[in-house]
């Protein structure tokens, strides 16, 4: 059923009895051309693009819980393409372009809202690093503006300019960046993939890989039985190491907890996304009115999906450093996601060393904003057996070759990326 104000009004007349499931609830078939493990944004987008762009419709997406129950439902909803290194720059811009047409592509309002992101700088060195990054963006056809303190004051008059520990000297602005409604992205892809024939199978946990005599992966064992597959794609960020271990693979990935916070709903206070350069704090305001904010990783390996106090305090201290007007706004909820932290802070999208098994992992902080492009390039890899041109550098062997994509320059120390 096509969604529109007309279908909505029509349905209202019949007391909304006419709506049907947004996606089917099929029993798994015995075999698919492609099985995607992971019913998050990336897995569902991959299935959608396999069907839409590459004509592969005999596809199943297997989800151990409910779709969107991983990091797709546990992030701060920011979309942006303000990256500085080859590999990331083009890829995230591809994603940005897909965000910009997502609602019409999917016939689903994912509330993509391009209200802009400002990364504040507080020192000459930070300004120079942002200038380098902004110029890279511009050279790659991405919008970027470098603002000085006076220009920032015009955009964000409410920041703390008077008694800051680290004065605001300016910021890097990407106006096309913004936020999207994270859950809606999952549901929109699920519905659109479903409409193109993809089977979305919830409560179906993968427990092992089926291998043939040559070691090739030919299917998966699941809590709902064995499912054969021409190819298996993993899109299980947060659990990448655990799933890869079933195939005997060790990855250059650690799992870390990243906390995020939301305040009570208040009337509009903040226009876009603001990132504090001298502390660990970034914030935006959801359409519903909550301030959505976060900061750094807790810093230790964790699968617990919850964090501890030091980081929560650290984040709020950062908030009160630049926006002391939020002192009386109350934090409503705190949560933690499992971050698939790769060793250079950039993702891995590649064939695995095992035939028939394909990796989509290591998303670090970039997972949500990457969703559409990740789906497209992973679908390309699965369909064509060669990397998409915008994902050619996200190779697994780059660590062995020394070709890291290390935006923050922190080296093989995931909790610092």
């Amino acid at each position: 059923m096509k969604y529109s104000i007309f279908s909505l009004a029509k349905a209202a007349l019949s007391g909304h009895k006419g709506w049907t499931r947004a996606w089917r609830d099929p029993a798994p078939k015995s075999r698919y051309d492609v099985v995607i493990i992971g019913g998050g944004g990336h897995g569902l987008a991959t299935a959608y693009f396999l069907a839409r762009e590459y004509g592969i419709r005999n596809v199943a997406v297997l989800e151990k819980g409910w779709i969107g129950s991983g990091n797709a439902g546990r992030n701060t909803t920011i979309i942006r393409s303000n990256y500085g290194l080859p590999g990331n720059t083009g890829f995230y811009e591809l994603s940005m372009k897909l965000w910009e047409r997502m609602e019409q592509d999917l016939n689903y309002n994912t509330m993509v809202s391009q209200r802009g992101i400002i990364n504040l700088y507080h020192s000459d060195a930070q300004r120079d690093a942002f200038a380098r990054r902004g110029n890279t963006m511009r050279i790659n056809g991405i919008d970027a503006e470098l603002l000085d303190a006076e220009q920032i004051r015009k955009e964000l008059p409410f920041l703390n300019y008077n008694n800051a520990r680290f004065p605001i000297m300016g910021g890097l602005l990407q106006r096309r960046a913004g936020t999207a409604r994270h859950d809606a992205v999952v549901w929109g892809y699920a519905r659109a993939a479903n409409d193109r024939g993809v089977d979305i199978i919830q409560n179906c946990e993968v427990t092992g890989f089926v291998r043939d005599a040559n070691g090739r992966v030919t299917g998966v064992e699941t809590s709902r039985g064995r499912i054969g597959a021409g190819k298996v794609g993993m899109a299980v960020a947060g659990s990448s190491s655990r799933v890869a271990a079933m195939a005997g693979l060790r990855l250059p990935i650690e799992s870390h907890v990243l906390q995020a916070f939301v305040s009570e709903a208040i009337k509009p206070l903040i226009p876009g996304v603001i990132t504090f350069g001298a502390g660990h704090f970034y914030v935006s305001q959801s359409d519903k009115g909550g301030l959505v904010f976060g900061g750094d990783l807790d810093g230790y390996n964790s699968y617990a999906q919850r964090g501890n106090m030091p980081v929560m305090e650290d984040v709020c201290e950062g908030g009160m450093a630049i926006m002391p007007m939020i002192g009386r706004v109350r934090m409503l909820r705190q949560w933690g996601g499992i971050m698939d932290m790769s060793m250079d802070g950039s993702p891995i999208i590649d064939k695995s060393p095992i035939d028939g098994l394909y990796l989509n992992a290591g998303w670090c902080y970039g997972g949500f904003k990457a969703t559409p492009a990740s789906g497209l390039v992973f679908a390309h890899l699965l369909a064509r057996d060669e990397p998409h041109s915008e994902a050619a550098l996200f190779r697994l062997d780059r660590f062995r070759r020394g070709a890291m994509i290390d935006e923050k320059g922190q080296g093989a120390q995931p909790n610092l990326h």
């Binding site: 969604y3 104000i5 909505l8 007349l13 007391g15 709506w19 499931r21 947004a22 819980g65 409910w66 969107g68 129950s69 080859p86 083009g90 047409r101 019409q104 309002n109 509330m111 809202s113 391009q114 120079d128 690093a129 200038a131 902004g134 110029n135 511009r138 050279i139 800051a164 520990r165 549901w187 305040s263 709903a265 208040i266 009337k267 509009p268 001298a278 305001q285 359409d287 999906q305 919850r306 106090m309 709020c316 201290e317 908030g319 009160m320 450093a321 002391p324 007007m325 939020i326 002192g327 009386r328 706004v329 109350r330 909820r333 705190q334 070759r401 020394g402 890291m404 080296g411 093989a412």
Partner: protein
């Protein structure tokens, strides 16, 4: 120093002030009962709500005062802007949210039920326009047929560009509840630590019993209670304990607890989080009960309580029943009605009806009758009146109807009548009433016990979830544990307190548990009365029963999908009154049981907490600690401009009268050094004492070059890599004795390098005899540079010291005696490229050293210089620093590849050899200078081959560091450029679209100044 203004008056409007002043004591309190409750009738308080002056008493909450004043309408709901009243009497309140205070202290979304009344309190309703009674946004109710769950996902998509420009701003303005202050919060917050053996959460009967048992046993106890008073439900329901009146028991128990030195009672303190290792978070509302905190007092304090054991006695929350019209002002929880009547002597209505499906709800009928008010009907879907309440029915001749409330009629002022549907024949009847008390049963407060992903367990007999999988060290007791009678609460609390104390090793006797009735609790689960009108599940987010079933039809069957699709339970009350009803309706729709359907994940905070409280002292200028150099105050006196470098405050330049900008000052400082002599405080460099028999071997392993071969009395530049082969840091290390090196790091990396060195020492090379001590703060260190350096120093040191090239060669190091007797360390090293020394004295002499350098250098025009001049000179000399050591460059990229020893293993050696790190097309450090000498070069500009169009394929590097070189009289810079060293002399395009600049520059050697290094050896 608090740093926050204490003088800011409450920005009240004059009219509101006047209104409050003239309010006639208690005349407005039409619904105040004659009894005393727990309020102090001798202490009247004036307050205003929506500009209307009213009165209350000490002991009131804002909600109870509003009830006493007969106010029913207090809020508008989130989506439909429906009129809403007060539903509960506690922190679970979903509806009665108000905007407290004004101006910078304006505070949205405060629950009227937890706000203590104080004299001069100003509260306003929110989310309405122009007024609460006449809210134009209530037009949304007309669109309610369209505004169902998830409607926005299905529309607002065309045309695409309308989203940001029209639809979204509209939605954003409509959404949100209150308005936050838009001025810095003038109040102060702090954070504190507390430690105990047993933490008791909740001061009701179970909590008091637990604290008493644990306290008597001798363990260290902290009891936290969110309310202003201890007692919990005893304050509302009374009862008899150990043969005495519950309030008498409360007094004597409190007395005993207070007398125990090992028990600490914290009221107004709400526990909101449970973290790992027995760390609990609580918020103390220190000054929320006054108009403005006292001078030097905080508004709120965040407690981090470390407890070996905890006993959670957080009680239970009464749940509503979902039926049409259940959100009308005047529909109130039955237990809340008891609280308002018994504790606050305030009557929520004059004609009250009671709708209950359980025995406990019946107690409200008794309360109302005893208060002298009239109960018009008791509606219970069960066939029989519970045995324990039969006498009640007889005594008061109660009208009991076996049925359900199927509709509520009324207007903005609330309930006017209710419609009751008879269970047996389905016939309806209308009953006039102005208040409907509702009880759907009790939900034990399982939140805190589930914060570590514990799954609550369904108990059929009480039709509720009880705790399951509580965090390590936590026990639950009392109503929070599903014990719903007073006697069981006392018993359960006592035994949990005694057990926790024993587990902490307390040897004392916990004494006997207090006793009270353990009457039964019968309930016939009733979640949803189907009917025509809107039946609300989540009052604040306007989620109705039909929204839940719609979500189910569309496939959002998981409770988490339900929550996210309908926003059920995502409001400020976190679904305390709505979640269980929502999932019960979902269970019914899907044909699953309630436990099969399961709950959503419980997350902290238990109740919302002000962001300011998490920051405490660390806000604005106190965000991070600051570090001062030994000559800081001296430099400030000279008028230095300071810059933040990490945590350090450093002198950036020293402006002089008449200089038009920083560039003029900096250029003067540079030329003063190049032509005469200058000095700069470089104490911020990390300094490490490396000692031990194997110190040299140790340094050989952490640096790419050799240090064991360094002669005593000499210094050497060293470079260290990370294990992945990328440069970590650089600095000069001196050998002061056979077994003593003095290592320096960059300012930025002092901490990480120290940690790395300790890692190498303790983990990688534990066999080496080496000890490390940070000496950064011990020494005031100054760089003295320029051709007259030696002359200056000669005047400063004892005449016996030989500073000639022979007596003190380049890279020499030794202790010298200064005139006046102080011993200093002198290092002949140069960052500026000039004849230079660095001199260290103990930090206490830092200011004196600066003074004395000025005196000794006076004949030579000595000039203090700041970090900017330091930077200019290092760029002129082509020395790499932070912008080049950016965590992605190799030693060879920096032009230092030859330093890498081939004879030894060292950290990073192997990985530095990987193919992509030794590829010929890497970007390496070069010099860059614009071909037009008048051009300003900027860092972050990119390098593109001349004649090429800038693009991903032609982007060959960027400018890392720039300065105006007063010596060369032009802007110069360093850059990282692909194959740069092969391209010296090439003209390239400098592309800087961010700053709309595009010009040409020559790639050159990074050493712009004195490439042979004659001057520094001079």
């Amino acid at each position: 120093m608090s740093g926050y203004s204490r003088s800011e008056p409450l920005a009240r409007t004059a009219r509101e002030e006047a209104n409050i002043r003239t309010a006639v004591t208690s005349a407005s309190q039409s619904h105040r009962l004659p009894g005393d409750g727990m309020i102090d009738r001798r202490s009247p308080l004036r307050f205003s709500f929506d500009g209307k002056a009213m009165t209350g008493f000490v002991g009131d909450t804002l909600a109870s005062a509003l009830v006493a004043n007969g106010v029913k309408l207090v809020a508008r709901s989130f989506k439909y802007h429906r009129p809403r009243g007060i539903v509960t009497a506690g922190s679970e309140e979903p509806s009665a949210l108000v905007e407290m205070r004004t101006g910078a202290r304006r505070e949205p979304n405060t629950r009227a039920t937890t706000q203590e009344l104080y004299d001069g309190l100003i509260a306003n309703s929110q989310n309405r326009w122009p007024s609460l009674r006449h809210d134009l946004m209530s037009i949304n109710q007309l669109f309610a047929p369209i505004f169902v769950a998830g409607f926005y996902y299905k529309t607002f998509m065309w045309p695409a560009k309308f989203w940001e420009s029209i639809y979204e701003p509209m939605i954003r303005r409509a959404a949100g509840l209150g308005k936050s202050a838009e001025l810095p919060d003038p109040d102060h917050y702090d954070k504190a630590w507390a430690h105990c053996d047993v933490l008791v959460v909740g001061g009701g009967p179970a909590g008091l019993s637990a604290a008493l048992a644990a306290g008597r046993a001798g363990s260290r106890v902290i009891l936290v209670e969110e309310d202003t008073l201890l007692g919990g439900r005893l304050l509302s329901d009374g009862g008899e304990i150990d043969g005495m009146d519950a309030r008498e028991w409360l007094r004597s128990t409190t007395r005993e607890l207070v007398s125990l030195p090992n028990v600490r009672i914290m009221t107004r303190t709400a526990l909101f989080g449970v973290y790992d290792g027995g760390t609990y978070a609580a918020l103390e509302r220190v000054s929320d009960n006054v108009a403005m905190p006292d001078r030097h007092q905080v508004r709120q304090r965040l407690w981090r309580i470390v407890a070996r054991r905890s006993v959670v006695t957080a009680g239970a929350i009464e749940r509503p029943i979902v039926f049409p019209g259940n959100d009308r002002p005047g529909v109130m929880m039955a237990s809340a009605v008891r609280t308002y009547v018994n504790r606050f002597a305030a009557l929520p209505g004059k004609r009250l009806a009671l709708f209950t499906n359980n025995d406990d709800g019946w107690r409200t009928a008794e309360t109302i009758q005893r208060a002298g008010a009239h109960i018009v009907a008791v509606i219970d879907p069960r066939r029989e009146v519970p045995a324990q309440h039969r006498r009640l029915v007889d005594t008061y001749d109660l009208r009991v109807l076996a049925g359900v409330v199927s509709d509520v009629k009324g207007g903005v002022d609330g309930v006017r009548s209710i419609v009751v549907t008879n269970n047996r024949n389905g016939q309806t009847q209308r009953i006039e009433a102005d208040c409907l008390a509702v009880s759907g049963g009790w939900n034990p407060n399982v939140g805190l016990s589930c914060f570590h992903r514990g799954k609550p367990i369904w108990r059929e007999d009480i039709a509720a979830f009880v705790p399951g999988g509580a965090p390590e060290g936590m026990a639950t007791a009392g109503a929070a544990n599903g014990e719903l009678s007073l006697g069981a609460c006392l018993r359960d609390g006592h035994s949990a307190g005694a057990k926790a104390a024993a587990e902490c090793g307390a040897a004392g006797k916990p004494g006997e548990a207090s006793k009270a009735d353990e009457e039964g609790y019968g309930i016939a689960p009733l979640w949803h009365v189907k009917g025509k009108g809107k039946a609300f599940v989540d009052f604040q987010h306007d989620v109705t029963a039909s929204d839940v079933t719609l979500a189910q039809r569309e496939g959002f069957e998981s409770v988490e999908h339900l929550k996210r699709y309908t926003t059920l339970g995502m409001a400020t009350d976190q679904g305390k009154t709505s979640n269980i009803n929502g999932l019960a309706i979902m269970a019914e729709a899907t044909g699953r049981t309630i436990p099969e359907t399961g709950t959503t994940i419980y997350r902290p905070p238990y109740a919302p907490v002000a962001i300011g409280a998490f920051a405490g002292h660390h806000r604005e200028e106190n965000f991070h600690a600051w570090r001062l150099t030994p000559s800081h105050h001296w430099a400030a006196k000279q008028g230095a401009v300071f810059v933040d470098t990490g945590l350090w405050k450093r002198a950036q330049w020293y402006p002089r009268a008449g200089e038009k900008d920083w560039l003029e000052s900096v250029s003067r400082e540079v030329l003063a050094v190049r032509n005469g002599v200058g000095f700069c405080d470089v104490s911020t460099l990390g300094k490490v004492d490396v000692r031990g028999a194997d110190a040299g071997v140790f340094l050989d392993r952490v640096y790419i070059n050799a240090f064991s071969s360094l002669a005593v009395g000499k210094a050497r530049y060293g470079l260290m890599l990370r294990e992945d082969g990328i440069v970590m840091d650089d600095g000069t290390t001196s050998r002061l004795a056979e077994d003593h090196y003095f290592l320096t790091t960059t300012t930025a990396k002092a901490g990480p390098v120290m940690q790395h060195l300790e890692f190498c020492r303790q983990i990688l090379f534990p066999d080496l005899d080496v000890q490390l001590t940070s000496a950064t703060d011990q020494w005031a260190q100054f760089s003295i540079a320029g051709p007259n350096t030696r002359k200056l120093l000669q005047a400063l040191v004892d005449p016996s010291e030989d500073l000639t090239n022979e007596g003190f060669p380049f890279m020499g190091v030794r202790e010298v005696k200064l005139r006046g007797g102080v011993i200093a360390r002198l290092f002949r090293i140069s960052f500026s490229g000039e004849m230079a020394f660095e001199i260290s004295v103990p930090a206490r002499y830092g200011a004196a050293m600066a003074e004395n350098l000025m005196i000794a250098g006076k004949p030579y025009g000595v000039t203090p210089y700041g970090t900017e001049a330091l930077g200019v000179m290092r760029i002129e000399k082509g020395h790499v620093a932070g912008p080049e050591l950016n965590g992605t460059t190799t030693a060879d990229d920096l032009g230092l590849g030859k330093m890498m020893s081939k004879k030894k293993d060292f950290i990073g050696r192997v990985m530095a050899g990987r193919e992509a790190l030794v590829a010929p097309n890497r970007q390496v450090v070069v010099g860059v200078k614009p071909t037009d000498k008048a051009r300003r070069l900027r860092s972050g500009a990119h390098v593109v081959p001349r004649g090429e169009i800038p693009g991903p394929k032609t982007d060959q590097g960027y400018v890392t560091s720039v300065c105006f070189s007063p010596v060369l009289d032009q802007w110069i810079g360093l850059g990282l450029v692909e194959r740069g060293r092969e391209r010296i002399g090439e003209i390239v395009r400098i592309h800087d679209p961010l700053r709309s600049e595009d010009y040409e520059a020559e790639i050159c050697s990074p050493v712009f100044y004195d490439p042979e290094g004659v001057r520094q050896r001079g």
